[in-house]
Amino acid sequence: MELYEFGVGQLAEAFEKGAASPSEALSSVLERIGELEGEVHAFLLTDEEGARKKAKEADGLWAAARKGGARPAPLAGVPYVLKDNICTNGIRTTCGSKMLEGFVPPYDATVAGKLSGSVLLGKSNMDEFAMGSSTENSAFGPTRNPWDTKAVPGGSSGGSAACVSAGFAPFALGSDTGGSIRQPASLCGVVGLKPTYGRVSRYGLVAFGSSLDQIGPFARSVEDAALVFEAISGHDPKDSTSSPRPVPDMRKACKKGVKGMRIGLPREYFAEGLDPEVKDLVMGAVEELSAGGAEIVEVSLPSSMYGLAAYYLAATAEASSNLARFDGIRYGFRAPGAKDVVSAMKKTRSHGFGDEVKRRIMLGTYVLSAGYYEAYYNKALKVRRVLKEEFDEAFGKCDAIAGPTTPEVAFRFGERTEHPLSMYMSDIYTITANLIGIPAISVPCGLSKGLPVGLQLAARAFDEETLFAAAAEVERGAGFAGRIPGRIGGASR
């Protein structure tokens, strides 16, 4: 097994035993990236020099630990990737947009600080300002799905998902506002977690939907995702919405099993329109849970199909406000030639933003504007309340809600870009978790026509333990842990 195939836990163990060093692991992934990045285009920036320096430091730390010195942080020396909407001090952060093409933050996101012992390889590609479900909205070209380079990796964290899927890094961070970690995880055959809102600090995450955004991990196994989640979560005084709740041992949770756990299946999730092969694979995973001792119950979430509409009102409203700071005055792109500040702002924003971003800003501005607030924005917030109540009721009957992560497997480039709504439909199962702030995970449960299918599990707020326990069980049954596609694009391993 090559070092680039190792998972997070496996690398940490190797470093501890001295079986491999961080520099060796780095060389392995860099070689892989060198071979295949041309096919995948997962990165917007690689920082080989910085990575080498960090790996060398970690070599020393682990060596010292083996001689009896202090134990370094669990993820010290492990290579990883950050989605390019997570600010990195001194390292360009573009959010996949021309608007920030040259922006170099003079500050780190809190999560970047928490992973300062790990080896940052670079920043990954994404839909511009996290708006999209395919990474086709990046201003710097799309990323390709490692399982089929003619298909999308999903979005908006397509680059991070592809990095982990292709073996460029054992873990990556993405952000999830309506499914942007879970959906690409599903399409790329990796594990992706959206934590409970408030578990992971948002300081340094360029905001899209402030009441919906969370940073979360991609990894090739549930236990790896748990390890990363532990490392990045916890209260942050710089984020007022950050939860003070302590984070329990998530590794232990992975081994808990599902005996006695009640798994809820919402009848509304299995209605028509769901690809039959996807349905089969998802039901197969559910049977694995049953075989492991879980009780399967039917639940009803009658308003769940309205979640998408509520999401598109709440998220775009917040986004229209969050993106207003991009006016060309203090940082970022400024369109040349404008004689006065108002036209400078208009030119800058019209040229700096792509179509999807402008569309959402327009929609968000509209729903907040005078006369429409009650009918649109406030209505959406009330529907959020209804959804929360329905989920609370369902959680009275079950401990985790299961279903497909997304209705289909990875689609081809250009397939969904005609009609704005067709792309939005990808998020239909994922958005509610964001609207009500509960944690949700996508775990691979098989392949359909050669493309990965993900099972989504959602649990009560702050109950990531249940998610890890159930996801680990599904993973044992599906045998997908650690899988990297054998052939990527024209090349093969």
């Binding site: 007022s240 309205y306 509409a309 005055i329 203090r330 400024r334 500040v341 929609l363 406030n378 959020r384």
Partner: protein
Amino acid sequence: MGISRDEVMRIAELARLEFGEEDAARYALELDLILGYVAKLEEVDTEGKKPLTHAQELVNVMRQDEPVQGLSQDQALMNAPARKGEFFLVPRIMDNSDED
């Protein structure tokens, strides 16, 4: 329903975006489609429901009034598209009608 061209221009103005006629028409159409879809929300009974603005029930998160070192002047200005000495530079501000 139908969003008029005038509405689109009003919103564009509020959002500091500018469009040519063709684009304005396209946006009007696309926004209409999306608004048509979200009109479904009227089917949900939200009578007496409090709007959910925050996912958690946190209250009273505050910090002490203690100064903390910020950025140096150079760090603050280093990403500025236009700079004049110690200041950010902007083109002519036509009137103070936006000032409040």
